[in-house]
C-alpha cells in the first residue's frame, strides 16, 4: 500500500487537516486507490483550541518539511490556522476546499515541486465537481 522510496517509506509531501475524520477518510481513499497515502500527513483538529490547531500544524510542518497544507473548509478553524502559518512562511502553500480528485492529482505529480503540484491539483479538483441531471 505504501510507496517506497529507496527502500524506505515515501517522504510526506503535504499535510491534510480538517473537521472530524475528514482528513483520515480522504487519505485512506488515496491509499486505497493508488497506494500513496504515506505521501500525506493526516491531522485531526477535534476538540482543539485555535492555538492548539496552529501549533499542531506548525510542528508537523517543521517535523516533515512539507510545504503544502490541504484543509477542508474555507471557513474552518484549520484554514484560519494554516493562513496564519503561511503568512509567516511564504514558502508554504495552502489549498482550502480539498477533495479526493485534488489529492490524487497531487500525489501523482512528482515532476514539479510540491507547491506547484498543489496549484495544478487545485485546478483539477475544481474541475472534478460535476452535476449530472436536471
Amino acid at each position: 500500500m505504501s510507496e517506497m522510496n529507496e527502500g524506505g517509506p515515501a517522504q510526506p509531501r503535504a499535510i491534510v487537516v480538517g473537521h472530524g475524520e475528514f482528513a483520515g477518510g480522504l487519505v485512506s481513499a488515496v491509499g486505497q486507490i493508488c497506494g500513496m497515502a504515506d505521501k500525506l500527513v493526516v491531522l485531526s483538529m477535534m476538540g482543539m483550541t485555535p492555538e492548539g490547531i496552529e501549533e499542531m500544524i506548525r510542528e508537523q510542518v517543521a517535523r516533515t518539511g512539507v510545504q503544502v497544507i490541504f484543509t477542508d473548509l474555507p471557513a474552518g478553524s484549520a484554514t484560519t490556522a494554516a493562513r496564519r502559518i503561511v503568512k509567516d512562511d511564504p514558502r508554504l502553500v495552502l489549498v482550502s476546499g480539498v477533495n479526493l480528485a485534488t489529492l490524487l492529482d497531487f500525489v501523482f505529480n512528482n515532476a514539479v515541486p510540491p507547491t506547484e503540484a498543489a496549484r495544478t491539483a487545485a485546478e483539477r479538483g475544481k474541475a472534478s465537481l460535476i452535476v449530472v441531471g436536471r
Binding site: G47, P50, A75, T80
Partner: protein
C-alpha cells in the same frame, strides 16, 4: 429579525458558526466582537475571507458593540453575534442589558480550565462570570450545534452532561 444567536466560541468564525448555525438560522450578518481582531486589519481580512458572500461581517470592539447594539437588534436581517471569550460577552451583557440568552459554543482546554462538557472547559473565574451573566437575567446554555441538546448552565457547571 434581530440577532438570533449570541455565541461564545474561541474559534470565532469557523464551520459550526458559518454552516452549522448560519444555514438553519439563515444568518445574513455576523457581528464579531473582539478587541484584538477589531484593531488589526490583517485579522479582519483573515476572518472576512472565511465568510460566504451572502453574509455581511461587522467587526467591533466591545465598547463599539455596546454602542451599536440597538442598531443590530433592529436590523431586519437575521444576525449572529460572536465573542471569542466569556469576558467579552460578560462586558457586552453588562453594557447592553437587552440580551436574553447566550450560547456557549466552544471554550476549549487551556491551563487552569477544567472540563465541563466535551467542548466547554472553564476556569473558576470564568464559571463566576457565567453565573453573573445568568444572574443578570440572561439564559446561558451550552450547545455546539443546533441538533444537540441545549445544556442549562447549572448542568454545565456540575459537569454532569460530560
Amino acid at each position: 429579525m434581530a440577532i438570533q444567536l449570541y455565541r461564545i466560541d474561541d474559534r470565532l468564525i469557523h464551520g459550526q458558526v458559518v454552516v452549522g448555525w448560519g444555514q438553519p438560522l439563515n444568518i445574513r450578518f455576523l457581528v464579531l466582537v473582539d478587541d484584538m481582531v477589531a484593531g488589526s486589519d490583517w485579522e479582519k481580512d483573515l476572518y472576512r475571507m472565511a465568510v460566504p458572500p451572502e453574509m455581511e461581517i461587522i467587526f467591533n470592539d466591545v465598547q463599539t458593540a455596546i454602542r451599536e447594539h440597538a442598531r443590530y437588534a433592529s436590523d431586519p436581517r437575521p444576525g449572529l453575534l460572536l465573542t471569542g471569550d466569556i469576558e467579552s460577552m460578560y462586558r457586552l451583557v453588562k453594557g447592553v442589558k437587552a440580551i436574553g440568552s447566550v450560547n456557549l459554543g466552544g471554550i476549549h482546554h487551556r491551563a487552569g480550565r477544567s472540563e465541563k462538557l466535551r467542548y466547554i472547559f472553564l476556569t473558576p473565574a470564568e464559571e463566576n462570570e457565567l453565573r453573573e451573566i445568568e444572574a443578570a437575567g440572561v439564559e446561558v446554555t451550552a450547545q455546539d450545534v443546533p441538533s444537540s441538546r441545549a445544556v442549562p448552565l447549572p448542568e454545565v457547571l456540575q459537569g454532569a452532561a460530560r
